[in-house]
Protein backbone atom coordinates (compact mmCIF):
# COMPACT_ATOMS: atom_id res chain seq x y z
CA UNK A 1 0.00 0.00 0.00
CA UNK A 2 2.68 2.47 1.00
CA UNK A 3 4.65 1.54 -2.12
CA UNK A 4 1.67 2.48 -4.25
CA UNK A 5 1.19 5.72 -2.29
CA UNK A 6 4.85 6.57 -2.77
CA UNK A 7 4.60 5.95 -6.53
CA UNK A 8 1.49 8.09 -6.79
CA UNK A 9 3.21 10.85 -4.83
CA UNK A 10 6.16 10.85 -7.21
CA UNK A 11 3.70 10.87 -10.13
CA UNK A 12 1.99 13.91 -8.64
CA UNK A 13 5.32 15.70 -8.21
CA UNK A 14 6.34 15.23 -11.85
CA UNK A 15 2.76 16.00 -12.90
CA UNK A 16 3.25 19.58 -11.74
CA UNK A 17 6.01 19.94 -14.30
CA UNK A 18 3.81 18.35 -16.99
CA UNK A 19 1.27 21.05 -16.16
CA UNK A 20 3.83 23.85 -16.40
CA UNK A 21 5.19 22.45 -19.68
CA UNK A 22 1.66 22.25 -21.07
CA UNK A 23 0.71 25.77 -19.95
CA UNK A 24 3.12 27.40 -22.40
CA UNK A 25 1.98 25.19 -25.26
CA UNK A 26 -1.66 25.77 -24.41
CA UNK A 27 -1.20 29.55 -24.32
CA UNK A 28 0.44 29.62 -27.74
CA UNK A 29 -2.07 27.16 -29.25
CA UNK A 30 -5.07 28.90 -27.73
CA UNK A 31 -4.08 32.40 -28.78
CA UNK A 32 -2.32 31.90 -32.10
CA UNK A 33 -3.82 28.57 -33.26
CA UNK A 34 -0.21 27.57 -33.78
CA UNK A 35 0.92 24.16 -32.56
CA UNK A 36 4.58 24.44 -31.75
CA UNK A 37 5.92 20.87 -31.64
CA UNK A 38 9.36 22.31 -30.81
CA UNK A 39 8.01 23.28 -27.39
CA UNK A 40 9.93 20.43 -25.76
CA UNK A 41 13.14 21.66 -27.39
CA UNK A 42 12.51 25.09 -25.85
CA UNK A 43 12.18 23.30 -22.50
CA UNK A 44 15.47 21.55 -23.25
CA UNK A 45 17.17 24.90 -23.99
CA UNK A 46 15.87 26.34 -20.70
CA UNK A 47 17.31 23.33 -18.94
CA UNK A 48 20.72 23.86 -20.49
CA UNK A 49 20.51 27.55 -19.56
CA UNK A 50 20.15 26.58 -15.91
CA UNK A 51 22.80 23.88 -16.22
CA UNK A 52 25.44 26.19 -17.66
CA UNK A 53 24.63 29.02 -15.24
CA UNK A 54 25.27 26.54 -12.43
CA UNK A 55 28.32 24.90 -14.01
CA UNK A 56 30.11 28.05 -15.13
CA UNK A 57 29.09 30.69 -12.59
CA UNK A 58 27.86 28.60 -9.68
CA UNK A 59 24.37 30.11 -9.85
CA UNK A 60 21.86 28.22 -7.71
CA UNK A 61 19.46 26.45 -10.09
CA UNK A 62 16.34 27.91 -8.48
CA UNK A 63 17.88 31.41 -8.56
CA UNK A 64 18.76 30.91 -12.22
CA UNK A 65 15.04 31.22 -13.06
CA UNK A 66 15.56 34.99 -12.69
CA UNK A 67 17.88 34.84 -15.72
CA UNK A 68 16.40 31.93 -17.67
CA UNK A 69 12.89 33.43 -17.82
CA UNK A 70 13.92 36.77 -19.40
CA UNK A 71 16.33 34.92 -21.70
CA UNK A 72 13.51 32.66 -22.85
CA UNK A 73 11.20 35.64 -23.35
CA UNK A 74 13.78 37.11 -25.70
CA UNK A 75 14.27 33.78 -27.51
CA UNK A 76 10.50 33.51 -27.93
CA UNK A 77 10.32 37.00 -29.44
CA UNK A 78 13.16 36.15 -31.85
CA UNK A 79 11.46 32.90 -32.91
CA UNK A 80 8.23 34.79 -33.46
CA UNK A 81 9.88 37.42 -35.61
CA UNK A 82 11.98 34.90 -37.50
CA UNK A 83 9.54 32.02 -37.99
CA UNK A 84 6.12 31.84 -36.41
CA UNK A 85 5.18 35.42 -37.26
CA UNK A 86 5.02 34.32 -40.91
CA UNK A 87 2.78 31.39 -40.12
CA UNK A 88 -0.01 33.43 -38.51
CA UNK A 89 -0.70 35.18 -41.81
CA UNK A 90 -2.33 32.06 -43.21
CA UNK A 91 -5.91 31.03 -42.38
CA UNK A 92 -6.54 28.63 -39.55
CA UNK A 93 -6.08 25.18 -41.05
CA UNK A 94 -3.03 26.04 -43.12
CA UNK A 95 -1.70 27.83 -40.09
CA UNK A 96 -1.89 24.77 -37.86
CA UNK A 97 -0.40 22.54 -40.54
CA UNK A 98 2.49 24.88 -41.36
CA UNK A 99 3.22 25.49 -37.69
CA UNK A 100 3.41 21.73 -37.14
CA UNK A 101 5.88 21.39 -39.99
CA UNK A 102 7.98 24.36 -38.97
CA UNK A 103 7.99 23.24 -35.36
CA UNK A 104 9.15 19.81 -36.49
CA UNK A 105 12.01 21.29 -38.53
CA UNK A 106 12.94 23.58 -35.66
CA UNK A 107 12.90 20.68 -33.19
CA UNK A 108 15.18 18.71 -35.47
CA UNK A 109 17.63 21.60 -35.90
CA UNK A 110 17.68 22.51 -32.18
CA UNK A 111 18.22 18.89 -31.21
CA UNK A 112 21.12 18.49 -33.66
CA UNK A 113 22.58 21.82 -32.51
CA UNK A 114 22.39 20.83 -28.84
CA UNK A 115 24.12 17.50 -29.52
CA UNK A 116 26.79 19.33 -31.48
CA UNK A 117 27.40 21.99 -28.82
CA UNK A 118 26.89 20.08 -25.59
CA UNK A 119 27.19 16.36 -26.57
CA UNK A 120 24.38 13.85 -26.08
CA UNK A 121 25.28 13.30 -22.40
CA UNK A 122 22.67 13.54 -19.70
CA UNK A 123 23.39 16.39 -17.26
CA UNK A 124 22.06 17.25 -13.86
CA UNK A 125 22.86 19.97 -11.36
CA UNK A 126 24.30 18.74 -8.08
CA UNK A 127 23.24 20.86 -5.10
CA UNK A 128 23.98 20.66 -1.39
CA UNK A 129 20.26 20.21 -0.64
CA UNK A 130 19.62 17.74 -3.50
CA UNK A 131 19.23 14.66 -1.29
CA UNK A 132 16.99 16.22 1.37
CA UNK A 133 13.83 14.26 2.06
CA UNK A 134 10.74 15.12 4.08
CA UNK A 135 9.28 12.09 5.83
CA UNK A 136 5.53 12.02 6.40
CA UNK A 137 4.47 8.72 7.94
CA UNK A 138 5.80 6.07 5.58
CA UNK A 139 6.07 8.47 2.67
CA UNK A 140 9.29 10.22 1.84
CA UNK A 141 8.98 13.41 -0.18
CA UNK A 142 12.10 14.62 -2.04
CA UNK A 143 12.27 18.29 -1.10
CA UNK A 144 13.66 19.49 -4.42
CA UNK A 145 10.76 17.92 -6.32
CA UNK A 146 8.28 19.38 -3.84
CA UNK A 147 9.87 22.78 -4.44
CA UNK A 148 9.55 22.39 -8.23
CA UNK A 149 5.86 21.50 -7.87
CA UNK A 150 5.29 24.55 -5.69
CA UNK A 151 7.18 26.84 -8.05
CA UNK A 152 5.26 25.46 -11.01
CA UNK A 153 2.01 26.34 -9.24
CA UNK A 154 3.32 29.82 -8.37
CA UNK A 155 4.30 30.45 -12.01
CA UNK A 156 0.91 29.27 -13.26
CA UNK A 157 -0.76 31.56 -10.72
CA UNK A 158 1.39 34.48 -11.84
CA UNK A 159 0.46 33.80 -15.46
CA UNK A 160 -3.24 33.62 -14.60
CA UNK A 161 -2.92 36.96 -12.80
CA UNK A 162 -1.06 38.47 -15.74
CA UNK A 163 -3.76 37.34 -18.16
CA UNK A 164 -6.62 38.61 -16.04
CA UNK A 165 -5.22 41.93 -14.72
CA UNK A 166 -2.62 43.25 -17.14
CA UNK A 167 -3.83 45.36 -20.08
CA UNK A 168 -2.02 43.20 -22.61
CA UNK A 169 -3.03 40.06 -20.77
CA UNK A 170 -6.64 40.96 -21.45
CA UNK A 171 -5.72 41.68 -25.06
CA UNK A 172 -4.20 38.21 -25.31
CA UNK A 173 -7.34 36.61 -23.93
CA UNK A 174 -9.55 38.63 -26.23
CA UNK A 175 -7.48 37.53 -29.22
CA UNK A 176 -7.78 33.92 -28.14
CA UNK A 177 -11.55 34.26 -27.78
CA UNK A 178 -12.20 35.86 -31.17
CA UNK A 179 -9.39 37.52 -33.07
CA UNK A 180 -11.66 39.25 -35.55
CA UNK A 181 -13.68 40.91 -32.80
CA UNK A 182 -10.43 41.77 -31.02
CA UNK A 183 -9.14 43.39 -34.18
CA UNK A 184 -12.36 45.40 -34.51
CA UNK A 185 -12.05 46.74 -30.99
CA UNK A 186 -8.63 48.09 -31.87
CA UNK A 187 -6.42 45.46 -30.32
CA UNK A 188 -3.07 45.05 -32.04
CA UNK A 189 -3.40 41.29 -32.45
CA UNK A 190 0.08 40.88 -33.90
CA UNK A 191 1.47 42.21 -30.66
CA UNK A 192 -0.83 39.92 -28.70
CA UNK A 193 0.54 37.00 -30.75
CA UNK A 194 4.11 38.11 -30.09
CA UNK A 195 3.49 38.41 -26.36
CA UNK A 196 1.71 35.07 -26.18
CA UNK A 197 4.54 33.32 -27.98
CA UNK A 198 7.21 35.00 -25.84
CA UNK A 199 5.31 34.13 -22.65
CA UNK A 200 4.84 30.55 -23.84
CA UNK A 201 8.58 30.26 -24.47
CA UNK A 202 9.32 31.77 -21.04
CA UNK A 203 7.11 29.13 -19.44
CA UNK A 204 9.00 26.46 -21.38
CA UNK A 205 12.31 27.88 -20.16
CA UNK A 206 11.09 27.87 -16.57
CA UNK A 207 9.82 24.32 -16.94
CA UNK A 208 13.19 23.27 -18.37
CA UNK A 209 15.02 24.77 -15.40
CA UNK A 210 12.81 22.91 -12.94
CA UNK A 211 13.12 19.66 -14.91
CA UNK A 212 16.90 19.94 -14.82
CA UNK A 213 16.94 20.64 -11.07
CA UNK A 214 14.67 17.77 -10.12
CA UNK A 215 15.65 15.29 -12.84
CA UNK A 216 18.16 15.86 -15.66
CA UNK A 217 18.54 17.35 -19.13
CA UNK A 218 19.89 15.98 -22.40
CA UNK A 219 19.38 17.06 -26.02
CA UNK A 220 16.83 14.31 -26.59
CA UNK A 221 14.33 15.18 -23.84
CA UNK A 222 12.51 17.56 -26.18
CA UNK A 223 10.15 15.21 -27.97
CA UNK A 224 9.18 13.46 -24.76
CA UNK A 225 8.19 16.76 -23.12
CA UNK A 226 6.37 17.98 -26.21
CA UNK A 227 4.34 14.81 -26.06
CA UNK A 228 3.50 15.13 -22.36
CA UNK A 229 2.47 18.73 -22.94
CA UNK A 230 0.31 17.79 -25.94
CA UNK A 231 -1.47 15.04 -24.01
CA UNK A 232 -2.16 17.42 -21.13
CA UNK A 233 -3.52 20.01 -23.57
CA UNK A 234 -5.83 17.42 -25.14
CA UNK A 235 -6.91 16.29 -21.66
CA UNK A 236 -7.43 19.73 -20.11
CA UNK A 237 -8.70 21.66 -23.12
CA UNK A 238 -7.87 25.29 -23.75
CA UNK A 239 -8.71 28.41 -21.82
CA UNK A 240 -7.84 27.84 -18.18
CA UNK A 241 -4.23 27.77 -17.04
CA UNK A 242 -5.20 26.30 -13.69
CA UNK A 243 -7.14 23.60 -15.53
CA UNK A 244 -4.01 22.82 -17.52
CA UNK A 245 -2.02 22.52 -14.32
CA UNK A 246 -4.58 20.09 -12.89
CA UNK A 247 -4.44 18.18 -16.18
CA UNK A 248 -0.69 17.81 -15.69
CA UNK A 249 -1.22 16.42 -12.19
CA UNK A 250 -3.80 13.97 -13.55
CA UNK A 251 -1.37 12.73 -16.22
CA UNK A 252 1.38 12.32 -13.61
CA UNK A 253 -0.95 10.33 -11.36
CA UNK A 254 -2.32 8.27 -14.24
CA UNK A 255 1.20 7.32 -15.37
CA UNK A 256 2.13 6.28 -11.84
CA UNK A 257 -1.06 4.24 -11.52
CA UNK A 258 -0.42 2.64 -14.91
CA UNK A 259 3.13 1.73 -13.90
CA UNK A 260 1.89 0.27 -10.61
CA UNK A 261 -0.82 -1.78 -12.31
CA UNK A 262 0.83 -3.04 -15.48
CA UNK A 263 4.47 -2.70 -14.50
CA UNK A 264 7.03 0.06 -15.05
CA UNK A 265 7.65 -0.62 -18.76
CA UNK A 266 4.02 0.22 -19.57
CA UNK A 267 3.79 3.60 -17.80
CA UNK A 268 3.68 5.59 -21.05
CA UNK A 269 0.76 3.73 -22.62
CA UNK A 270 -1.72 5.65 -20.51
CA UNK A 271 -1.02 8.84 -22.46
CA UNK A 272 -2.21 7.24 -25.68
CA UNK A 273 -5.31 5.87 -23.98
CA UNK A 274 -6.10 9.34 -22.62
CA UNK A 275 -5.81 10.80 -26.11
CA UNK A 276 -8.18 8.30 -27.72
CA UNK A 277 -10.68 8.29 -24.83
CA UNK A 278 -10.84 12.08 -24.56
CA UNK A 279 -11.58 12.41 -28.27
CA UNK A 280 -14.23 9.69 -28.04
CA UNK A 281 -15.89 11.25 -24.97
CA UNK A 282 -15.59 14.89 -25.94
CA UNK A 283 -16.14 14.78 -29.68
CA UNK A 284 -16.22 18.53 -30.10
CA UNK A 285 -12.57 18.71 -29.17
CA UNK A 286 -10.47 21.51 -27.83
CA UNK A 287 -12.32 24.36 -29.42
CA UNK A 288 -15.72 23.21 -28.26
CA UNK A 289 -16.92 25.60 -25.59
Amino acid sequence: MSVLAQQLLLGLLIGGLYGLAAAGLSLVFGVMRVLNVAHGELIMLGGYGAFWLAALFGVDPFASLVLVIPGSLLLGALLYWGLFGFVVRAHEETRIKNSLLIGFGLALALHALAVRLWTADERSIPTSYGGAVLSVGELSIPLVRLATLTLALVLIGALQLLLSRWRWGKAIRATAEDWQAALLTGIDIRRAYLLAFALGTALAGAAGTLVTVAYSVSPSIGLEWTLKALIVVVLAGLGSMLGTFVGGLVLGLAEAASAATFGGPYREIVGLVIFVVVLAVRPRGLFGR
Binding site: F29, L35, V37, L83, F86, E92, E93, I96, K97, N98, L100, L101, I102, F104, G105, L106, A107, L108, A109, L110, H111, A112, L113, V115, R116, L223, E224, T226, L227, L230, I231, V234, G264, P265, Y266, E268, I269, G271, L272, F275, V276, L279, A280, P283, R284, G285, F287
Partner: protein, 314 residues
Protein backbone atom coordinates in the same frame (compact mmCIF):
# COMPACT_ATOMS: atom_id res chain seq x y z
CA UNK B 1 -6.68 18.91 -63.00
CA UNK B 2 -4.38 18.31 -65.94
CA UNK B 3 -1.97 16.53 -63.63
CA UNK B 4 -3.04 13.05 -64.77
CA UNK B 5 -0.98 12.82 -67.95
CA UNK B 6 1.93 14.48 -66.26
CA UNK B 7 1.92 11.91 -63.48
CA UNK B 8 1.56 9.01 -65.89
CA UNK B 9 4.68 10.18 -67.73
CA UNK B 10 6.64 10.43 -64.51
CA UNK B 11 5.43 7.00 -63.42
CA UNK B 12 6.78 5.51 -66.66
CA UNK B 13 10.14 7.28 -66.24
CA UNK B 14 10.54 6.14 -62.62
CA UNK B 15 9.43 2.57 -63.27
CA UNK B 16 11.80 2.35 -66.24
CA UNK B 17 14.63 3.52 -64.02
CA UNK B 18 13.70 0.92 -61.41
CA UNK B 19 13.59 -1.77 -64.10
CA UNK B 20 17.13 -0.80 -65.11
CA UNK B 21 18.19 -1.10 -61.49
CA UNK B 22 16.98 -4.70 -61.57
CA UNK B 23 20.02 -5.42 -63.76
CA UNK B 24 22.42 -4.04 -61.13
CA UNK B 25 22.97 -7.31 -59.19
CA UNK B 26 23.86 -9.04 -62.49
CA UNK B 27 26.96 -6.84 -62.81
CA UNK B 28 28.27 -8.36 -59.55
CA UNK B 29 28.70 -5.00 -57.78
CA UNK B 30 30.43 -4.53 -54.45
CA UNK B 31 28.16 -5.07 -51.45
CA UNK B 32 28.36 -1.43 -50.38
CA UNK B 33 26.95 -0.30 -53.74
CA UNK B 34 24.05 -2.70 -53.35
CA UNK B 35 23.49 -1.56 -49.76
CA UNK B 36 23.53 2.09 -50.80
CA UNK B 37 20.92 1.56 -53.51
CA UNK B 38 18.91 -0.51 -51.03
CA UNK B 39 18.81 2.48 -48.65
CA UNK B 40 17.58 4.74 -51.46
CA UNK B 41 14.85 2.25 -52.42
CA UNK B 42 13.70 1.95 -48.80
CA UNK B 43 13.70 5.74 -48.54
CA UNK B 44 11.58 6.05 -51.70
CA UNK B 45 8.99 3.66 -50.22
CA UNK B 46 8.96 5.53 -46.92
CA UNK B 47 8.68 8.95 -48.56
CA UNK B 48 5.93 7.94 -51.01
CA UNK B 49 3.96 6.31 -48.19
CA UNK B 50 4.11 9.53 -46.13
CA UNK B 51 3.26 11.52 -49.25
CA UNK B 52 -0.09 9.72 -49.67
CA UNK B 53 -1.55 11.09 -46.46
CA UNK B 54 0.20 14.48 -46.45
CA UNK B 55 0.36 15.27 -50.13
CA UNK B 56 -3.00 13.94 -51.29
CA UNK B 57 -5.30 13.92 -48.25
CA UNK B 58 -3.58 16.93 -46.65
CA UNK B 59 -3.09 15.42 -43.16
CA UNK B 60 0.19 15.75 -41.28
CA UNK B 61 1.31 12.42 -39.81
CA UNK B 62 3.98 13.11 -37.20
CA UNK B 63 4.25 9.49 -36.11
CA UNK B 64 5.03 7.66 -39.32
CA UNK B 65 7.77 5.77 -37.46
CA UNK B 66 5.07 4.02 -35.41
CA UNK B 67 3.77 2.23 -38.51
CA UNK B 68 7.23 1.50 -39.84
CA UNK B 69 8.16 0.17 -36.39
CA UNK B 70 5.04 -1.97 -36.01
CA UNK B 71 5.69 -3.51 -39.41
CA UNK B 72 9.26 -4.27 -38.39
CA UNK B 73 8.28 -5.67 -34.98
CA UNK B 74 5.60 -8.07 -36.23
CA UNK B 75 7.56 -9.17 -39.30
CA UNK B 76 10.67 -9.89 -37.29
CA UNK B 77 8.74 -11.88 -34.68
CA UNK B 78 6.84 -14.04 -37.16
CA UNK B 79 9.72 -14.48 -39.59
CA UNK B 80 12.22 -15.57 -36.93
CA UNK B 81 9.55 -17.98 -35.64
CA UNK B 82 9.59 -19.62 -39.07
CA UNK B 83 6.79 -17.93 -41.04
CA UNK B 84 7.54 -17.16 -44.72
CA UNK B 85 8.89 -13.62 -44.94
CA UNK B 86 6.20 -12.29 -47.31
CA UNK B 87 3.45 -13.57 -45.03
CA UNK B 88 5.19 -12.03 -42.02
CA UNK B 89 5.46 -8.72 -43.85
CA UNK B 90 1.78 -8.81 -44.74
CA UNK B 91 0.92 -9.40 -41.09
CA UNK B 92 3.18 -6.51 -40.11
CA UNK B 93 1.49 -4.20 -42.59
CA UNK B 94 -1.91 -5.33 -41.33
CA UNK B 95 -0.97 -4.54 -37.72
CA UNK B 96 0.32 -1.11 -38.68
CA UNK B 97 -2.89 -0.34 -40.57
CA UNK B 98 -5.06 -1.50 -37.67
CA UNK B 99 -3.31 0.86 -35.23
CA UNK B 100 -3.55 3.66 -37.77
CA UNK B 101 -7.30 3.21 -38.12
CA UNK B 102 -7.84 3.32 -34.33
CA UNK B 103 -6.01 6.65 -34.14
CA UNK B 104 -7.55 7.84 -37.41
CA UNK B 105 -11.16 7.16 -36.43
CA UNK B 106 -10.66 9.02 -33.13
CA UNK B 107 -8.76 11.94 -34.61
CA UNK B 108 -10.26 12.45 -38.08
CA UNK B 109 -13.74 13.12 -36.79
CA UNK B 110 -12.24 16.38 -35.61
CA UNK B 111 -10.36 18.84 -37.72
CA UNK B 112 -7.02 20.41 -37.21
CA UNK B 113 -4.17 19.06 -35.21
CA UNK B 114 -5.65 15.99 -33.54
CA UNK B 115 -4.33 13.56 -36.09
CA UNK B 116 -0.82 15.00 -35.80
CA UNK B 117 -0.97 14.82 -32.00
CA UNK B 118 -2.37 11.29 -32.04
CA UNK B 119 0.24 9.93 -34.43
CA UNK B 120 3.05 11.69 -32.58
CA UNK B 121 1.79 10.16 -29.34
CA UNK B 122 1.48 6.71 -30.89
CA UNK B 123 5.03 6.84 -32.23
CA UNK B 124 6.73 8.04 -29.08
CA UNK B 125 4.70 5.90 -26.70
CA UNK B 126 5.32 2.75 -28.72
CA UNK B 127 9.02 3.56 -29.00
CA UNK B 128 9.39 3.97 -25.24
CA UNK B 129 7.26 0.95 -24.47
CA UNK B 130 8.98 -1.36 -26.96
CA UNK B 131 12.33 -0.13 -25.63
CA UNK B 132 11.21 -0.94 -22.08
CA UNK B 133 9.64 -4.31 -22.82
CA UNK B 134 12.21 -5.56 -25.35
CA UNK B 135 15.48 -3.95 -24.26
CA UNK B 136 17.65 -6.73 -25.74
CA UNK B 137 19.15 -6.44 -29.20
CA UNK B 138 17.47 -8.70 -31.78
CA UNK B 139 19.97 -10.80 -33.73
CA UNK B 140 19.23 -13.38 -36.40
CA UNK B 141 20.11 -17.01 -35.59
CA UNK B 142 23.43 -18.23 -36.97
CA UNK B 143 21.78 -20.50 -39.57
CA UNK B 144 19.83 -17.56 -41.01
CA UNK B 145 22.94 -15.40 -41.12
CA UNK B 146 24.80 -18.16 -42.98
CA UNK B 147 22.12 -18.27 -45.67
CA UNK B 148 21.75 -14.45 -45.81
CA UNK B 149 21.63 -13.19 -49.38
CA UNK B 150 21.78 -9.45 -50.00
CA UNK B 151 20.42 -9.80 -53.54
CA UNK B 152 17.09 -11.11 -52.22
CA UNK B 153 16.72 -8.03 -50.00
CA UNK B 154 17.66 -5.81 -52.88
CA UNK B 155 14.97 -7.22 -55.17
CA UNK B 156 12.36 -7.04 -52.43
CA UNK B 157 13.25 -3.36 -51.87
CA UNK B 158 13.07 -2.75 -55.60
CA UNK B 159 9.66 -4.39 -55.80
CA UNK B 160 8.35 -2.43 -52.83
CA UNK B 161 9.59 0.89 -54.24
CA UNK B 162 7.87 0.05 -57.54
CA UNK B 163 4.64 -0.85 -55.72
CA UNK B 164 4.65 2.42 -53.79
CA UNK B 165 5.30 4.47 -56.93
CA UNK B 166 2.53 2.59 -58.75
CA UNK B 167 0.17 3.10 -55.81
CA UNK B 168 0.75 6.85 -55.76
CA UNK B 169 0.50 7.07 -59.55
CA UNK B 170 -2.78 5.16 -59.52
CA UNK B 171 -4.06 7.36 -56.72
CA UNK B 172 -3.03 10.58 -58.43
CA UNK B 173 -4.90 9.70 -61.63
CA UNK B 174 -8.02 8.25 -60.01
CA UNK B 175 -11.31 9.64 -58.71
CA UNK B 176 -10.18 8.59 -55.25
CA UNK B 177 -7.11 10.80 -55.48
CA UNK B 178 -9.17 13.65 -56.89
CA UNK B 179 -11.47 13.43 -53.87
CA UNK B 180 -8.49 13.44 -51.54
CA UNK B 181 -7.05 16.52 -53.17
CA UNK B 182 -10.43 18.20 -52.86
CA UNK B 183 -10.31 17.56 -49.09
CA UNK B 184 -6.78 18.88 -48.95
CA UNK B 185 -7.76 22.12 -50.66
CA UNK B 186 -11.03 22.79 -48.85
CA UNK B 187 -12.69 20.17 -46.73
CA UNK B 188 -16.00 21.97 -46.32
CA UNK B 189 -16.37 22.64 -50.03
CA UNK B 190 -15.47 19.01 -50.77
CA UNK B 191 -18.02 17.71 -48.26
CA UNK B 192 -20.76 19.90 -49.64
CA UNK B 193 -20.12 18.59 -53.14
CA UNK B 194 -20.58 15.03 -51.96
CA UNK B 195 -17.06 13.91 -51.09
CA UNK B 196 -17.04 11.75 -47.96
CA UNK B 197 -14.07 13.28 -46.20
CA UNK B 198 -13.78 10.86 -43.30
CA UNK B 199 -13.79 7.68 -45.37
CA UNK B 200 -11.35 9.14 -47.91
CA UNK B 201 -8.95 10.24 -45.21
CA UNK B 202 -9.14 6.78 -43.65
CA UNK B 203 -8.53 5.17 -47.04
CA UNK B 204 -5.46 7.32 -47.60
CA UNK B 205 -4.24 6.49 -44.11
CA UNK B 206 -4.77 2.75 -44.57
CA UNK B 207 -2.85 2.76 -47.86
CA UNK B 208 -0.06 4.89 -46.44
CA UNK B 209 0.42 2.88 -43.26
CA UNK B 210 0.22 -0.46 -45.07
CA UNK B 211 3.16 0.66 -47.24
CA UNK B 212 5.00 1.97 -44.18
CA UNK B 213 4.41 -1.37 -42.45
CA UNK B 214 5.78 -3.23 -45.46
CA UNK B 215 8.83 -0.95 -45.47
CA UNK B 216 9.30 -1.76 -41.77
CA UNK B 217 9.04 -5.46 -42.59
CA UNK B 218 11.74 -5.02 -45.20
CA UNK B 219 13.91 -3.32 -42.58
CA UNK B 220 13.41 -6.30 -40.25
CA UNK B 221 14.28 -8.71 -43.07
CA UNK B 222 17.38 -6.71 -44.07
CA UNK B 223 19.14 -6.04 -40.77
CA UNK B 224 21.05 -8.80 -39.04
CA UNK B 225 20.81 -7.17 -35.62
CA UNK B 226 19.14 -4.05 -34.23
CA UNK B 227 17.34 -2.89 -31.10
CA UNK B 228 13.60 -3.58 -31.49
CA UNK B 229 12.83 0.05 -30.55
CA UNK B 230 15.13 1.43 -33.28
CA UNK B 231 12.59 1.33 -36.15
CA UNK B 232 10.19 3.27 -33.90
CA UNK B 233 12.70 6.13 -33.60
CA UNK B 234 11.38 9.57 -34.58
CA UNK B 235 14.10 9.98 -37.20
CA UNK B 236 12.14 7.67 -39.55
CA UNK B 237 9.34 10.21 -39.45
CA UNK B 238 11.80 13.09 -39.90
CA UNK B 239 13.33 11.35 -42.89
CA UNK B 240 9.99 10.74 -44.59
CA UNK B 241 8.89 14.31 -43.97
CA UNK B 242 12.13 15.92 -45.13
CA UNK B 243 12.47 13.81 -48.27
CA UNK B 244 8.87 14.44 -49.28
CA UNK B 245 9.02 18.18 -48.69
CA UNK B 246 12.45 18.73 -50.23
CA UNK B 247 11.31 16.92 -53.37
CA UNK B 248 7.78 18.24 -53.53
CA UNK B 249 4.82 17.13 -51.45
CA UNK B 250 1.73 16.00 -53.33
CA UNK B 251 3.58 15.02 -56.50
CA UNK B 252 4.63 11.59 -57.72
CA UNK B 253 8.22 12.39 -58.63
CA UNK B 254 8.96 14.77 -55.72
CA UNK B 255 9.45 12.17 -52.97
CA UNK B 256 11.58 10.03 -55.31
CA UNK B 257 13.88 12.97 -56.09
CA UNK B 258 13.87 13.98 -52.44
CA UNK B 259 14.77 10.47 -51.31
CA UNK B 260 17.72 10.21 -53.71
CA UNK B 261 19.05 13.66 -52.81
CA UNK B 262 18.52 13.12 -49.09
CA UNK B 263 20.24 9.73 -48.87
CA UNK B 264 23.15 10.79 -51.08
CA UNK B 265 23.77 13.99 -49.10
CA UNK B 266 23.20 12.26 -45.78
CA UNK B 267 25.76 9.55 -46.51
CA UNK B 268 28.22 12.07 -47.91
CA UNK B 269 27.89 14.48 -44.97
CA UNK B 270 28.00 11.68 -42.41
CA UNK B 271 31.48 10.80 -43.62
CA UNK B 272 32.76 14.14 -42.35
CA UNK B 273 30.42 15.39 -39.69
CA UNK B 274 28.22 12.99 -37.76
CA UNK B 275 24.62 14.24 -37.50
CA UNK B 276 25.38 17.67 -38.96
CA UNK B 277 23.06 16.78 -41.83
CA UNK B 278 20.13 17.01 -39.42
CA UNK B 279 20.96 20.62 -38.63
CA UNK B 280 21.31 21.46 -42.32
CA UNK B 281 18.19 19.58 -43.40
CA UNK B 282 16.14 20.91 -40.47
CA UNK B 283 16.95 24.48 -41.47
CA UNK B 284 16.46 23.71 -45.17
CA UNK B 285 13.09 22.16 -44.41
CA UNK B 286 11.86 25.20 -42.47
CA UNK B 287 12.95 27.38 -45.38
CA UNK B 288 11.08 25.18 -47.86
CA UNK B 289 7.84 25.23 -45.84
CA UNK B 290 7.98 29.03 -45.58
CA UNK B 291 9.30 29.98 -49.00
CA UNK B 292 8.90 27.10 -51.43
CA UNK B 293 6.04 24.87 -50.29
CA UNK B 294 6.22 22.83 -53.52
CA UNK B 295 9.85 21.81 -53.01
CA UNK B 296 12.25 21.00 -55.84
CA UNK B 297 9.43 20.13 -58.23
CA UNK B 298 8.00 23.62 -57.84
CA UNK B 299 11.46 25.16 -58.18
CA UNK B 300 12.00 23.28 -61.43
CA UNK B 301 8.61 24.38 -62.75
CA UNK B 302 9.38 27.99 -61.91
CA UNK B 303 12.77 27.78 -63.54
CA UNK B 304 11.17 26.26 -66.65
CA UNK B 305 8.54 29.01 -66.60
CA UNK B 306 11.20 31.72 -66.44
CA UNK B 307 13.25 30.08 -69.20
CA UNK B 308 10.18 29.55 -71.36
CA UNK B 309 9.17 33.18 -70.86
CA UNK B 310 12.65 34.32 -71.87
CA UNK B 311 12.56 32.14 -74.99
CA UNK B 312 9.17 33.49 -76.01
CA UNK B 313 10.35 37.05 -75.45
CA UNK B 314 13.42 36.50 -77.63
Amino acid sequence: MTAGGHERRWAIVILAALALLALLPLTAPRDDVLNFVFLILLAITLAESWNIVAGYAGQVNLGHAAFFGLGALVTRMLWTEGAPVLLAMAAGAGTATLFALVIGVAAFRLRGAYFAIGTLALGEILRTTVGNVLPEISTLPAATIASYRLTQRFYLALGLAAVSVLAVAALATSRLGLGMRAIREDEEAAESSGVGALSLKLTALALSTALAGLAGGLFAYYHISYYPSHPFGPHWTFDALLMTFIGGVGTLQGPVLGAILYIVLKEYLALRWVDIHLLIFGALFVGIVLLLPGGLVQAAERARGVLGGARRAA
